[in-house]
């Protein structure tokens, strides 16, 4: 049997709770060619270089992601990975190169990120976010055991993103199921070939399609009858530039609904988990609540919500770190590893809430820098800050907790916490 590469080991489900020892091994070869022809980049400096290199494409149509090896005996069609289903949607800002990427992101920016067009857009959400967080904590009154994922981390971002985008909150259970199904079917590791994963694929593909249809229907509705939120604004945009096509709009809507909460859920869950594992840090944050701003940055570095990204490829031969990534090769950028690179961060495995010069890659860099970063920061700062302030004597019940299947959006499925009570 061929020995697995550190990258393949890092992607195994058994290592989901702690991929870091494998990342450490992986970083010994900053740009590591994998058996399937993918180049995995794991060191901070090299990732930053490639994020800013205009010879790197983000458009999977230009260089398809390698298909996972089909399971023994699986029919060819069944081996089509879930990513193909995603790609079959129209492009969105994350799978587009300039100039299309720039144009579409430019059109979306004023309705979401805020500055310079609407500088108060995000900050004006603060009271609403505080209200939601307070409500979630109030609901824990009287309980002695909570699930920091289901009871806390999940409900906040989903409520906020629905409000910002204008997605009816009552549809939440539907798209939540599609997202879960799709994510559970999306595997980049050696287990992708397993029978179990192969059997999940069909469901995952269907979920993506239904989700896409849901987004398209929603946009149709707003085209006929404008409503609140960003999606309606985009459908009815009457700016100087050509409007996005319905397909591209639907694809971006799907992206925003998905990315607008999935990553934030994991960040809040990981923040709680990490702080409970580091009682000193938790105490310090309790006594100095103003540290929440650098603390969230450190938590994001420590447990990156997006562990790696997979749609980039080389449009030319690129020489980097003594290796040539050949034209046409897929490139995986391992943010989770870069954020623990000792060449960039002193004592990277130490949680330091006051870390200086913490330019982590938790939101990436370059033109694809996380569109939702300002909103995510505000949500997590409030949520984690209030959790620390109000939850009395929280204790982890199970460590490590069970993890979700997907490797990119890595996060715990549940974080059970025993508590003494909730302060006012």
């Amino acid at each position: 049997m061929v020995e697995e590469t550190p990258w393949q080991q890092a992607l195994r489900y058994a290592n989901r709770a702690n991929p870091y020892p494998f990342y450490e091994e992986l970083r010994k070869t900053p740009v590591a060619r994998q058996p399937d022809g993918t180049y995995v980049v794991s060191t901070y400096r090299e990732i930053v270089t490639l994020l800013h290199d205009p010879r790197v494409s983000s458009d999977p149509r230009k260089c398809p992601v390698p298909a996972a090896a089909p399971a023994e005996g699986a029919v060819e069609a069944e081996a089509e990975p879930i990513t193909e289903a995603v790609i079959s949607l129209e492009p969105n800002i994350i799978t587009q190169d300039p100039p299309e990427h720039d144009r579409d992101r430019r059109m979306m920016t004023p309705h979401f990120v805020g500055p310079p067009h609407s500088p108060h857009l995000i900050s004006d959400l603060e009271p609403e976010i505080r209200r939601i967080v307070a409500g979630l904590l109030d609901d824990m009154q009287g309980k002695t055991r909570i699930d920091a994922v289901d009871d806390f981390a999940y409900p906040l971002p989903v409520t906020v993103i629905c409000k910002v985008l204008g997605v009816p909150l009552e549809d939440e259970s539907r798209f939540h199921r599609w997202i879960e199904t799709a994510l559970d079917a999306l595997d980049f590791g050696p287990e992708a070939a397993s029978e179990e994963m192969q059997s999940r694929l069909a469901g995952g593909r269907q979920a993506v399609q239904e989700f896409g249809q849901f987004a398209a229907d929603l946009l149709d509705r707003y085209a006929r009858q404008p409503g609140p939120g960003m999606l309606s604004a985009l459908v009815n945009e009457d700016g100087p530039e050509e409007r996005m096509s319905q397909g591209v709009l639907a694809s971006n809507a799907l992206l925003l609904i998905f990315a607008g909460h999935e990553t934030t859920v994991n960040l809040i869950a990981h923040s709680v988990l990490t702080l409970l594992r580091h009682p000193d840090a938790l105490e310090r944050l309790r006594h100095r609540p103003e540290l929440i701003v650098p603390a969230v940055e450190e938590l994001l570095r420590f447990e990156s919500s997006v562990q790696f990204w997979h749609t980039r490829s080389a449009l030319e031969d690129i020489d980097i770190a003594g290796t040539t990534i050949p034209k046409g090769a897929p490139i995986f950028l391992a943010y989770g590893s870069a954020n623990r690179d000792p060449e960039r961060f002193t004592d990277p495995d130490v949680l330091d809430l006051e870390r200086r010069d913490n330019q982590h890659l938790g939101f990436s860099q370059g033109i694809h820098f996380c569109f939702g970063a300002p909103l995510a920061r505000l949500e997590v700062q409030i949520a984690v800050g209030e959790f620390v302030r109000r939850v009395q004597n929280p204790r982890l019940v199970e460590d490590p907790p069970p993890y979700r299947h997907n490797q990119i959006f890595r996060g715990p499925r549940h974080v059970l916490v025993d508590i003494d009570g909730i302060r006012d």
């Binding site: 205009p54 010879r55 494409s57 100039p99 030319e316 860099q365």
Partner: protein, 467 residues
């Protein structure tokens, strides 16, 4: 005690109880003070500034402040840490005596130092005719007070603003005027706006941008005189082609003058071009010999740059003030081999006419330019400057996120033209001359002469040119 131990003890003692004076209370002065404390300096720290204000940020002055978005007094620089300094604000340094190691202040006081940091920056070049410059309605923009006065004048609003000089400040002022819907005329001696900083090819794009936004742009012309009314308010400008422009606000954006006059007679290499220093911020004396106790940072500093054939560069860039100050401050409380060099890749930004302009490297060092990304027609592009087959600078219009890439190429002395990007390529990727103005223009730079005969008395001297 060994020599090494003695030196170490001296450094410790200096950090504990030395006296450091910083002349200049702006961005560089403040960041230097913070770095000194950060590095463990606990001795006495005096910061001298001729303005009455605590350190404030200048980039917003010609943009947000003029638009009326931000009051001029809301531009105070954030403090990174306590500096515990003796602030002497509102009093200028007027002299330096290196023999007795004292800075002389305008109020007659003498401030002694063990180590001195010069961070006196630059000031706006005033309209040269003093009587005309004194007319009501004639402005320059450099300080907080300048910005506040000009903002008030723009809020009136004036019937027309005349901007003299289309460098970055002049162009930003013109842009603000158009945003406020004020008619504006820009008169520029060169062939186009921004031509000195970015060359004629980019200048032509900037010119079109101004005209598209309704600026009455007149290039290749000078202003001969300003005329006022009986109440001493400016009303009209006479241009070098004999035409006139009626305007009730005039902004002279004629570049800057380095604040070095107070160093006259100090024997430092201080003059028209700034204060010469090594890449570690240590000032040169007039003979080109490095000093031990005097450092320079910010706009007033002029140091050799390794990437640009070791030419002495003065950089009026925000980053240069910050990083130059950090390096100088570090070196002030350390000794060899712990000195650090200030090896910044120059870079600046400007916002005008809705476009974010950024540059990295030293564009005027290049003689060719090539468009590498995006579209000139859409005013969203990146372009690279080359010199003898290597990339020396890049400029972006609304493409700033790509500067990091070009910065890395410049740092590595990458090829020019640079490797083609993978997408979004402009139709024409052929390098063309960048069209910088001929550098052989006459200036008022003083002569330096050598005096003395014996090697021990041989020395240099400034002989200012007088007209």
């Amino acid at each position: 005690m060994t020599l090494r131990a003695t030196v170490a003890e001296l450094v410790r003692e200096f950090r504990a109880s030395g006296r450091i004076v910083i002349v200049g209370a702006s961005l560089a002065g403040l960041r230097a003070a913070e770095t000194l404390r950060e590095e463990g300096f606990t001795g006495s720290l005096t910061i001298i500034g001729d303005e009455a204000y605590e350190p404030y940020d200048r980039p917003p002055l010609s943009k947000q402040v003029l638009k009326g978005w931000v009051p001029a007094d809301h531009t105070k620089l954030p403090r990174m840490r306590e500096v515990d300094a003796d602030w002497r604000l509102g009093v200028a340094a007027v002299g330096l005596d290196r023999d007795t190691k004292q800075v002389r202040l305008a109020d007659g006081e003498q401030v002694p130092y063990d180590r001195l940091l010069i961070a006196t920056g630059t000031r706006a070049r005033q309209w040269p005719n003093l009587a005309e410059a004194a007319l009501h309605g004639v402005h320059t923009i450099r300080s907080r007070d300048d910005a506040e006065q000009l903002q008030k004048a723009l809020a009136e609003p004036p019937s027309r603003v005349l901007v003299i000089g289309a460098g970055f400040i002049g162009s930003e002022v013109a842009s603000v005027c158009r945003e406020l819907d004020i008619p504006v005329t820009v008169v520029e001696r060169g062939s186009a706006p921004l031509v000195g900083a970015l060359g004629g090819v980019i200048g032509e794009i900037a010119a079109q941008m101004q005209r598209d936004h309704g600026v009455d742009l007149r290039c290749g012309l000078g202003v001969s005189s300003l005329e006022g009314d009986s109440e001493g308010h400016v009303r009209r400008a006479r241009l070098s082609d004999g035409t006139t422009v009626d305007a009730d606000v005039v902004v002279a954006s004629l570049g800057s003058i380095r604040n070095v006059e107070w160093l006259e007679g100090s024997g430092l290499a201080a003059g028209f071009w700034g204060v010469g220093c090594d890449a570690g911020g240590r000032a040169f004396d007039i003979n080109g010999v490095v000093t031990d106790s005097i450092y320079v940072a910010g706009d007033v500093a002029r140091a050799p740059h390794v990437l640009y054939e070791y030419q002495f560069l003065a950089m009026e860039h925000w980053d240069n003030a910050v990083f130059g100050a950090e390096v100088a401050a570090h070196n002030m409380v350390n000794l060899e081999p712990h000195y650090r060099p200030h090896l910044l890749l120059p870079g600046f930004w400007s916002g005008q006419f809705g476009v974010n302009i950024k540059s990295v490297g030293v564009p005027p060092f290049g003689d060719e330019i090539v468009f590498t990304q995006g579209s000139v027609a859409d005013r969203r592009f990146a372009a690279a400057y080359g010199h003898r087959g290597r990339i020396v600078a890049a400029v972006t219009f609304d493409h700033g996120k790509w500067l990091e890439y070009y910065g890395k190429l410049i740092e590595q002395s990458g090829p020019f033209p640079p490797p083609p990007v993978g997408w979004d390529q402009p139709p024409d990727m052929k390098p063309v001359p960048a069209e910088f103005p001929d550098p052989r223009v006459p200036t008022a730079i003083p002569d330096v002469v050598l005096t003395g005969h014996a090697p021990s008395e041989r020395t240099a001297e400034f002989r200012p040119r007088r007209h």
